[in-house]
Subunit: 111 residues, 2 copies
Amino acid sequence: MESTFGIIAEPNRRAILSLLAFSERSVGEIEHQLRMPQPSVSKHLRVLREAGFVEARVDAQRRVYRIRAEPLMEIDAWLVPFRRFWSAHVDALERHLDRVDRVRPGKRKKR
Amino acid sequence: MESTFGIIAEPNRRAILSLLAFSERSVGEIEHQLRMPQPSVSKHLRVLREAGFVEARVDAQRRVYRIRAEPLMEIDAWLVPFRRFWSAHVDALERHLDRVDRVRPGKRKKR
DNA sequence: AAAGTAGATTCCATTACAGGTATATACTTG
DNA sequence: CAAGTATATACCTGTAATGGAATCTACTTT
């Protein structure tokens, strides 16, 4: 059930990936930089590893994790058919990000 | 909670979006083309709408849904830092830098 | 106005998943 | 070998999200 897209639905996992995008890191480094409990880091890394987003290199007692491209490419590929909706006007993202940062104004979901 | 990324974790929702990438469609059209129960389609469309992925145009008793670009752009933007892992101009040097270019406070000694 | 059509909403049951805590494993150093 | 460090795993629990079925609302046609 955990598809490629399901994996990156989790904010802490995205944070880990974004951190690893800069450079590879050990579990402890991730733990400190993201300030999350070690078991949590290990569990997320396991999920990411089993889904192919990262791979680990063993260095004594530590494991150094790094990005693997393939699953991210899959997401990128899924996005392709949608690019035509914005390749024209790039600045709409800023407007969108502004909107979601505010507390959502009710879109008449309740009455 | 349901972030932009959480929304597209659901396979049926991705199917709906991919369908709408071709052209706008009514609920009934989505229902038949994807062969899913109508309440399910409506519920997913609601989630997509509230997250800004789609918007609806009213046409008598039917509602015609179409793609909105912004949330998809947000995903595309998140992917940017990872592109270097697979784009053509990534060469051996860049991969090498991934390993060594960290200048961190070294709190451990070398082996 | 009654019947028909399109879509939305509610309720319910199930399940999957993330967080927390405790513990286990593996390697290293004194 | 004992102690310490780094990471992984197991267990438990609460929550949130999904699917199904029934029902409701709105618009249209005759």
